[in-house]
C-alpha cells in the first residue's frame, strides 16, 4: 500500500517550494533589469556591450569582483585540501584506534558544530590579534613586515571549522567498513602502508570526497567567520556583496548572484552524479 496523501498536503508542499524559489526567481529576473537603481523592474536591459547580458559583462570588467572571486576560490581550495587530509586522518584514528586523549579529541571536534559561529569568529579574531601584537612588538617588526589579518588568517580559520565536518562524514563511511578486506591484504603480505594506499583509501574515497565537497561548500558559503578574520586584500565574494548592500545596489549584484546560483546548481548536479556512481 502506498500511503495516502491528501491534496491539501500536496498544495501546502507546493506553496513551501514556491516560498523557497520565489526569491531566487526574483534575483535572476532583476539581473536583466534596465533600471540602474534596481528598485522596480523597468524592462529588460539592452545596452552595449552584451545586450541583455549587459550586467554580466560589466561584472567581468569589475576588478573588485574578479579579485573577490579569486580570493574566495583560493581560500576554499587550500582550506579544503588541508582540512580533508587532517580530517580523514583524525577520522581513521577515532574509528580504528584507541589512544590517550581520544575522548577529548571527540569532544573538541564536536564543539564547533554546536557553538554559535559568531563566538568562534570573535574568539579567533582575538587570538590572532594577541599573537600578532606580541610577535610584532617583541620582534619590533617594521610597519611593512608586521603580521596582520589577510588571506592566511581566513584560510587557517576555515580549516578549523571544516575539520569537524570532514571527520563526521568520513567516520560515517568508515562505520560500515568491512575490515576483512584489509586483513586479507595483510595475509597476502602487504604491509600496513601498502594496505592503506591500495585497499583502505580507495574504499573510503567516496566518503573522503563528500567530506571534501562539504568543506569546499562550507568555505565558499561562509560569511561570519570570514567577516572577523579577513583583512585588507582578502575580500571574499560574500563579504563584497555584504559591503554593497549598504550602498546603492545595481543589477550587477543580481548578475553576480545569478552566476553563483548557476555554479551551485552545476556543482550539486556533479556531486549527485558522483554519489550515485559510488553506491
Amino acid at each position: 500500500m502506498t500511503h495516502r496523501r491528501s491534496p491539501w498536503l500536496r498544495l501546502f508542499t507546493l506553496l513551501v517550494y514556491a516560498f523557497l524559489y520565489a526569491p531566487i526567481v526574483v534575483l535572476i529576473v532583476f539581473a536583466f533589469n534596465s533600471s540602474r537603481t534596481n528598485i522596480t523592474f523597468e524592462g529588460i536591459v539592452n545596452q552595449e556591450p552584451c545586450g541583455p547580458f549587459y550586467w554580466f559583462c560589466k561584472l567581468l570588467s569589475n576588478r573588485d569582483v574578479v579579485d573577490a572571486a579569486r580570493n574566495t576560490l583560493t581560500i576554499a581550495t587550500v582550506s579544503t585540501l588541508v582540512s580533508t587530509v587532517i580530517g580523514t586522518m583524525a577520522a581513521l584514528a577515532l574509528q580504528r584506534f584507541s589512544f590517550r586523549l581520544k575522548a577529548f579529541t571527540e569532544l573538541s571536534l564536536y564543539v564547533p558544530i554546536i557553538i554559535p559561529e559568531i563566538v568562534m569568529g570573535i574568539s579567533i579574531l582575538v587570538l590572532f590579534n594577541q599573537v600578532f601584537n606580541w610577535i610584532n612588538t617583541t620582534l619590533a617588526l617594521a610597519p611593512d613586515n608586521r603580521l596582520s589579518l589577510g588571506l592566511g588568517t581566513v584560510i587557517i580559520a576555515h580549516i578549523a571549522f571544516s575539520i569537524p565536518f570532514v571527520v563526521l562524514v568520513v567516520r560515517a563511511r568508515l562505520h560500515g567498513f568491512d575490515k576483512s578486506v584489509e586483513e586479507a591484504a595483510m595475509d597476502l603480505g602487504a604491509n600496513e602502508w601498502v594496505t592503506f594506499w591500495r585497499v583502505t583509501l580507495p574504499l573510503i574515497m567516496p566518503g573522503v570526497l563528500s567530506g571534501a565537497l562539504l568543506a569546499f561548500t562550507l568555505s565558499l558559503d561562509d560569511f561570519i567567520i570570514t567577516f572577523f578574520t579577513t583583512g585588507p586584500g582578502a575580500t571574499t565574494l560574500p563579504i563584497y556583496v555584504y559591503g554593497l548592500l549598504r550602498r546603492i545596489i545595481t543589477p550587477e549584484v543580481n548578475a553576480l548572484s545569478t552566476v553563483w546560483i548557476l555554479i551551485v546548481l552545476v556543482a550539486l548536479l556533479i556531486s549527485q552524479r558522483l554519489q550515485r556512481r559510488s553506491t
Partner: protein
C-alpha cells in the same frame, strides 16, 4: 608481544589524530579561554583590553547601573520594565534610573526571535518533509535536490533577495498594488522593510532547509508497515500520526531545532540587513563591540552569555529527546 602491539596501535592513533587535535586546541579551545578571560576585563581609552578580574561586564548586561542604591532598587525597576515597558521608558530618566532595560531587551528579542523562527520553520517544514518522505524514490531525489539548491546559494545573497521583494516599491507591494487596482480597491504600499517582520521572514527563509533535511531523515526511516499495523488495529489517521509518526520523527525535529535555534541566536547578518538600525540582536551587539565600539571585554561577556544560552538549549534537548545521526550535515 600483544602489549607492544597495543602500544604501537595507540601511538599510531595519537599521531593520526594529532594534527586535528592541535588545530582544535589552538584555534578553538585557546581562543574560547581567551574570550572567557577577557570577559572579566575592561577597556582603556584606546579600546585596548585591560586584564583584570571584575564582573562589571556581566553586571552591565543585567541592566544594573551605578545609580542603583540597593538590589531592591534594581528588582523594582526590572519589575516595572517587564510589566509596563512603555510607561517605564517614559517615566524614567535614562541618566538617573537604576535599571537599564537595553541589554535584557536585546537578549529577550534574540531568544524570542529564535523561538518564533524555530516554530514557524517546524510548521512549514514538517508537512513538506512528510510529503517528500512518502514520495516515490525518483521524485524524492528530485524534491531533495530542490531543497539543497537554495541552501547552498550564498547566505548573504539570499537575504539580499528579500530586500528586492519587501522594500516600499518592491516586488510584493507591486504585486499587491496591481492586484488592488485590478479589483478597483484603494492601495497604500505596506511598510515591510526594514522591520521586525522582515527579519523573521528572512530567518525562516535562511534556516528552513536545516529543519527539513533532518526531519526528512527521521520520517524516511519509519517502516510503512507500522502505519498499516496502526490502521489494522483501528487507529484513524490523526491517531496514527500522533501515536506513530510524530514520536518516531522526534529525533529529526530535535536535530533540526538545534540546527536552527543556535545559528538564529548568533547571526547578525539578517537583522543587520532586514531589520534596520533599531533592530539589535545579541549577534549585532557582539559585532558592534568588536568592530565599532571597540569594547572587546563587554563583547566577550555578551558572547559567553550567548554561548551558555545556546549550550543550555542543546543539552536540554539532547538529554530530553536523545540524539540520532540526524544532526549529520547533508
Amino acid at each position: 608481544m600483544i602489549q607492544r602491539l597495543r602500544q604501537h596501535k595507540s601511538l599510531q592513533g595519537s599521531l593520526l589524530a594529532s594534527p586535528a587535535l592541535l588545530w582544535m586546541i589552538v584555534l578553538l579551545i585557546v581562543p574560547l579561554l581567551l574570550i572567557v578571560i577577557i570577559s572579566f576585563g575592561g577597556r582603556d581609552a584606546d579600546g585596548n583590553v585591560i586584564y583584570t578580574f571584575r564582573l562589571d561586564n556581566y553586571i552591565r548586561l543585567t541592566g544594573y547601573t551605578d545609580n542603583c542604591r540597593s538590589a531592591g532598587d534594581y528588582f523594582s525597576g526590572l519589575w516595572q520594565a517587564i510589566t509596563n515597558p512603555a510607561a517605564y521608558d517614559e517615566t524614567t530618566n535614562p541618566a538617573t534610573r537604576c535599571f537599564d532595560p537595553l541589554y535584557l531587551q536585546i537578549l529577550w528579542r534574540s531568544v524570542s526571535l529564535a523561538l518564533q523562527t524555530t516554530l514557524v520553520v517546524i510548521l512549514m517544514g514538517y508537512p513538506l518533509a512528510y510529503y517528500v518522505a512518502r514520495s516515490s524514490i525518483r521524485r524524492r531525489n528530485l524534491l531533495l535536490f530542490l531543497i539543497l539548491v537554495p541552501l547552498w546559494t550564498n547566505f548573504v545573497i539570499r537575504v539580499y533577495a528579500w530586500i528586492i521583494i519587501l522594500r516600499g516599491q518592491g516586488v510584493l507591494n507591486g504585486l499587491l498594488g496591481s492586484g488592488a487596482s485590478a479589483l478597483g480597491l484603494p492601495f497604500r504600499p505596506l511598510d515591510l522593510y526594514p522591520s521586525a517582520g522582515a527579519v523573521l521572514v528572512g530567518m525562516v527563509y535562511e534556516f528552513l532547509p536545516f529543519m527539513i533535511l533532518p526531519m526528512y531523515t527521521s520520517l524516511e526511516k519509519i517502516d510503512t508497515s507500522l502505519y498499516e499495523a496502526a490502521a489494522d488495529l483501528g487507529a484513524n489517521p490523526l491517531r496514527t500520526f500522533l501515536r506513530v509518526t510524530l514520536p518516531l520523527s522526534m529525533p529529526g525535529v530535535v536535530a533540526g531545532t538545534i540546527l536552527v535555534f543556535v545559528p538564529v541566536m548568533g547571526t547578525f547578518v539578517v537583522s543587520d540587513i532586514l531589520g534596520g538600525k533599531q533592530f539589535v540582536l545579541v549577534g549585532n551587539l557582539i559585532q558592534r563591540q568588536f568592530l565599532d565600539a571597540r569594547d572587546r571585554a563587554f563583547g566577550s561577556a555578551a558572547s559567553i552569555i550567548l554561548m551558555v544560552m545556546t549550550l543550555l538549549v542543546t543539552v536540554y534537548y539532547t538529554r530530553r529527546f536523545g540524539f540520532g545521526e540526524e544532526i549529520a550535515p547533508v
